[in-house]
């Protein structure tokens, strides 16, 4: 019986005017979107390779004098994510590189600077098409599956037979979904072939598994929207009523809830920009350096004020023996204070962001669309997880450069009470060729799933809840 209903639903969908329209949209837009994004990715990779080459050359040419002069700025570039062909996510808004100096790191410009004017209208990538177009089509396909048959009277004709209602509902969902899923499957395979022909590394590492996860997640997402459509359709007596309800649901899930969540989070927990934080850190470093220089100048004047000439340069003079530990102690305390205060700024900033992000994510996850987009972006390496990994790598690289490069020069700046300034240096040799290379450890698939438990739960909820609702409504429906 189930097979009969599924077959009928598939045939009815195929014979409808909507099906060829949907098939054309899928077969045209999905591979096209992937092709365009692949070309954009290839360009970004070329730019990245060239910039890394130049940065490596610049790093290899670093001399200790440059470090002493405080003019060294090492750049660490982020490699574009290959799977950004499926979703851009934060790909174009993340800084292309970070600049590391002895005073800390700051973000460089983002890839969005290169984008066309059309980007302001939203990027047409795979996830965008699925979220905006296929979800709407799935809802439209489902919109009259029950209400249309109620209105036409064919539901009465069917239920006049020995047909269990749950079988009928399952058959409708199964058949209707199958008619949607097959064109999507073909379009996805076509797009994947196009990407492979364009030499995108879809095999090797965990890329194949990730592509498979994207496909499965999208299939689940389409089923979710289809089931939501069926739930609306079982509630309406007329196809037109369900159509209007479906548009309201779609607008709420696609446009209102995700954006509202973000807006509310920004209002409730405002967060400073990363540039503002960098500036705050620079000011702190400068202020501490000045304070230290003044303290060093005062101590220096106290010790060497009445000392004979040459005592400063004579390591064995009693003044030097007194001065060296005091200077080291002041500098050590400054380093500790600087480290603590910079870490506190970072920690406050991270907490502010985390609070805002958590609220925005939790609110937006009311929409299955937002849940899907977040999950797929993380699978593709262009989501929130990648952003966190990027900043983690930046911090770790700054520490490594501090150890391997910036700490090789000890600057002792002194500001004397009389107004004069003096500076002394002590430097250790630097092997520029052995400087650490900047790299981001990508999130593993397991990490991606762990970080997206809420998104997956949201998707599952929106799959199960509408089905349960539709089931109850349909079982209790009085056929008149």
């Amino acid at each position: 019986m189930l097979k009969t209903i599924i077959k009928k639903e598939v045939l009815e969908t195929i014979f409808s005017y909507r099906f060829p329209l949907f098939a054309i949209i899928c077969l045209l837009l999905i591979p096209l979107g992937m092709t365009v994004n692949q070309a954009s990715y290839a360009k970004r990779v070329r730019d990245y390779s060239e910039q890394v080459r130049l940065a490596d050359e610049a790093a290899a040419a670093i001399k200790i004098q440059d470090v002493m002069a405080g003019t060294v700025a090492v750049k660490g570039f982020r490699r574009p994510a290959p799977l950004s062909v499926f979703t851009q996510g934060f790909e174009s808004t993340l800084p292309r590189y970070y600049e590391f100096t002895q005073d800390g790191f700051k973000p460089g410009e983002s890839a969005s600077d290169d984008e066309s004017i059309l980007s302001v209208q939203g990027k047409v990538d795979f996830v965008f098409l699925v979220q905006m177009v296929i979800s709407l089509i799935a809802l439209l396909f489902a919109s009259d599956m029950v209400s249309g048959e109620k209105e036409a009277g064919t539901l009465r004709a069917m239920l006049a037979n020995s047909l269990p209602r749950d079988t009928l509902l399952a058959g409708k969902i199964g058949g209707g979904y199958l008619a949607l899923w097959v064109p999507f499957l073909v379009a996805f395979l076509l797009g994947t072939v196009v990407l492979m022909l364009a030499a995108l590394p879809l095999f090797g590492g965990d890329a194949t598994a990730r592509v498979l996860i994207i496909f499965l997640a999208t299939s689940l997402f389409i089923l979710t929207y289809f089931t939501i459509g069926i739930a609306v359709s079982t509630s309406a007596a007329k196809a037109r009523t369900s159509l209007v309800a479906i548009f309201i649901v779609w607008v709420a899930f696609q446009l209102i809830i995700p954006k509202l969540g973000d807006m509310v989070a920004r209002l409730v927990y405002p967060v400073r920009t990363e540039t503002a934080v960098s500036l705050q850190k620079s000011l702190l470093v400068r202020s501490l350096d000045i304070e230290t220089a003044k303290e060093l100048g005062r101590q220096f004047d106290l010790i060497f004020g009445a000392a004979p000439k040459g005592a400063v340069d004579d390591e064995k003079s009693p003044e030097r023996k007194k001065w060296d530990p005091i200077r080291d102690d002041i500098q050590l305390r400054t380093r500790e204070r600087k480290g603590q205060q910079l870490a506190a700024i970072d920690e406050t900033y991270i907490q502010e962001r985390r609070r805002q992000t958590n609220l925005a994510v939790n609110l937006s996850l009311v929409s299955p669309s937002a849940a899907f987009a977040r999950f797929v972006a993380d699978v593709c390496g262009t989501g929130e997880l990648e952003r966190a990994k990027y900043i983690e790598a930046v911090r770790s690289h700054q520490k490594a450069l501090d150890n391997e490069l910036f700490s090789k020069v000890k600057r002792t700046l002194m500001m004397h009470e009389g107004g004069g300034m003096s500076m002394s240096f002590s430097a250790m040799p630097v092997d520029a060729s052995k400087l650490p290379k900047f790299s981001i450890v990508p999130a593993s698939i397991a990490e991606t799933f762990k970080a997206n438990v809420r998104s997956l739960l949201s998707l599952l909820f929106w799959l199960i809840a509408p089905f349960a609702y539709a089931y109850v409504r349909f079982i209790k429906y009085d056929v008149r």
């Binding site: 045939l11 064919t154 009465r156 020995s162």
Partner: protein, 247 residues
Amino acid sequence: MAKQQPILKADDLSKRYEDGVLAVDHLNLNIYPGEVYCLLGANGAGKTTTINLFLNFIPPTTGTCYVNGIDVTKDPLEAKKYVSFVSENVMLYGNFTARQNLDFFAKLGGKTNLAKNDYYQVMRRVSLQEKAFEQRVKNFSKGMRQKLGISIAVIKDAPGILLDEPTSGLDPKAAEEFLEILNELKKEGKAILMSTHDIFRAKEIGDRVGIMKEGRLVMERTREELQYEDLVKIYIDYMKSEPLTLS
């Protein structure tokens, strides 16, 4: 001769809708194999509600419907195996051909493994034009749809048939053809309950005729009794009489 068991039986059947309207009021009905029972009544008299109750489309407020001795409320799926239904406007899938529609509903009726010729044979029996067999039904006339609807009932071969105003809107020729098919089904031993407004055809085809008013079966006559009475006059008199209830 021992009395046969009724195929369609309503036992003290009542239905009151949520809005308080009493659509069927203590209805008792027995329809036997080879019998056509015509239910007459104005709009809202409770004819369609009675059919809906036999199909378990809605639950009864009190009383029981039986199909082939099976309590429809307790075991609706089993009961529906023994009954076919043809509505006033036979609803079919417009994008399917006549054969595809017949195939789909035959399978729902439990008739699997039928060949193309089996469908053609049934469609020929109900006098559907040969050229229409493989045509999409969206362009079918009402008469053609009605013929296809009765062919669905024929192919299911259930002992009970429920017809909800099947001749309404049909031209005289199509209505006559429809009644011929009904006569054949009756001869095959089917128990047929037909709700209708058509007094003349009810008299012509019905072995018994009942008049419903405000949910009650107010009159019942056999074919023999009607030979000596004017059904039109009886019907109009009942329709003109005072309302039975104030509720």
